[in-house]
Amino acid sequence: MSVKLGLLALLAEEPKYGARLRAEFEARTGGTWPLNVGQVYTTLSRLERDGLVEAVGEDAEGRIAYRLTSTGRSEVSRWWLEPVDRDSTPRDELVIKLALAVTVEGVDVHRVVQTQRTATLKHLQDLTRLKHRASAGDRDTGPDTDSHDTAWLLVLENLIFAAEAEVRWLDHVETRLAREASRPRRRTSGTPTDEPTDEPTNERGPGHEQGQPTTSEKDHHRTTA
């Protein structure tokens, strides 16, 4: 992921000048990816050259604010729509993307989460298929290839764990958003609350936090045939 998409996402809200973009980017992504002002201005001039942003003029202090062109706007929309490409970018893009998605007005965060979850599960399916094949081949291989097979399995399993962790984290994001969404209601009730923010999160998904009846799977119909 380039700084480019992060800046475009912030400019989608309203025109901003460089120093403000830098400050907002850092504040909203929890300092995960510190930028310097120079980097921001270089990026902005490249974006301007490519027709994704345009200058709106100077303010009293001589700062130039930028706004998105329609091309820039569709570039941002495309980014929200598409899952993060696993092959070409470090996984951090997803973290940055979601941090921005929850702060930028008008983004359907649930959709972003679901699109990513589906993509990550597809990836996990591919990995599982490879693993199934690798471990099914165990029998046919001679002793020489044993350690190579083990190494390959370990690599696959590392990728499987990473993908699984990502899905669990996405579930957790939904859980947290559901909890945050129910917070203002609690405030207006005027009762002092012990914010249960540190309670262990339920990894099984948001349903548990939304007060829906969690019917025990065991209580469901049983049959022996």
Binding site: A12, V76, S77, W80, L81, P83, E105, G106, V107, D108, R111, V112, Q114, T115, R117, T118, A119, T120, L121, K122, L124, Q125, L127, T128, R129, H132, I160, A163, E164, V167, R168, D171, E174, R204, G205, P206, G207, H208, Q210, Q212, P213, T214, T215, E217, K218, H220, H221, R222, T223, T224, A225
Partner: protein
């Protein structure tokens, strides 16, 4: 995986299935217009938060519950038309269930548990036992035939439950969190067995909240509030992600 050729008639087909529990003020719409197909050789996983309708979906697929509207077809037959005996026969001959807590009968051995649906269906004891042993063999626990459930590990019990679900040439296995009570390694073994049964021609519908287990399926379907919101089988169609800004 899923190498078994798919025939044209799916083993399971849901057509616009809706299920409303209760009525009027207390009505809960557990499923809303769900359509899906599971073919021979296919394993389909269903994921979704608690309360999203996963168990309701399985119960409808197996004829344990009836839709408020829409239809369920098993091997091409509309099961809504079946009554009493017909439904019982469907459950004995065509559909098998696997649950989180194994549900084996404690006073029966593994082989007797697996043979039970066949005996209930009127088969002779010896013949039923022969089929049961074959089914236990397929899930890799032939040697446990004469053990009682409490002398087996969770993973072994779940394999026996899978054998029971598929004994006698049944084609549809419905599994509701079958790995929920197992450690992750054992859970994976159980998934592998389920996968292999499907590769051999069964159709499987699996509810799980474990992404790593769902990944054994050919297709993962996501349920939310009774609606299929996405599936790994088809490309995501996100069209209104950004609300039009004024």
């Amino acid at each position: 995986m899923g190498t078994m050729g798919t025939t044209n008639t799916p083993i399971l087909r849901l057509a616009e299935v809706t299920r409303v529990h209760g009525s009027d003020a207390t009505a809960v719409r557990a499923l809303a217009g769900v359509s899906m197909e599971v073919h021979a050789g296919e394993l389909v996983a269903v994921m979704g938060p608690s309360g999203s309708g996963k168990s309701t979906l399985l119960n409808l697929a197996g004829g344990l519950d009836a839709p408020t509207s829409g239809q369920v077809f098993v091997e091409g037959e509309a099961i809504g038309a079946l009554r009493g005996d017909g439904l019982a026969r469907l459950r004995r001959r065509r559909v098998g269930f696997v649950f989180q807590d194994f549900n084996l009968i404690p006073s029966l051995t593994a082989a007797e548990n697996v043979a039970l649906p066949l005996e209930l269906d009127g088969q002779r004891v010896r013949r039923a036992r022969r089929h049961a042993l074959a089914a236990l063999d397929l899930v890799g626990v032939r040697e446990l035939a004469d053990r009682y459930p409490d002398a087996m590990s969770g993973g072994q019990q779940q394999r026996v439950a899978i054998a029971r679900a598929l004994v006698g040439d049944r084609k549809l296995v419905l599994a509701d969190e079958p790995t929920g009570a197992l450690d992750s390694h054992t859970g994976e073994d159980v998934l592998r067995v389920l996968r292999e049964r499907c590769d051999d021609g069964a159709a499987g519908l699996l509810v799980t909240h474990e992404a790593r287990h769902a990944a054994w399926a050919d297709r993962v379907v996501f349920l939310r509030d009774g609606v299929v919101v996405d599936s790994t089988g088809q490309p995501a169609t996100a069209d209104s992600l950004l609300e039009p800004t004024a």
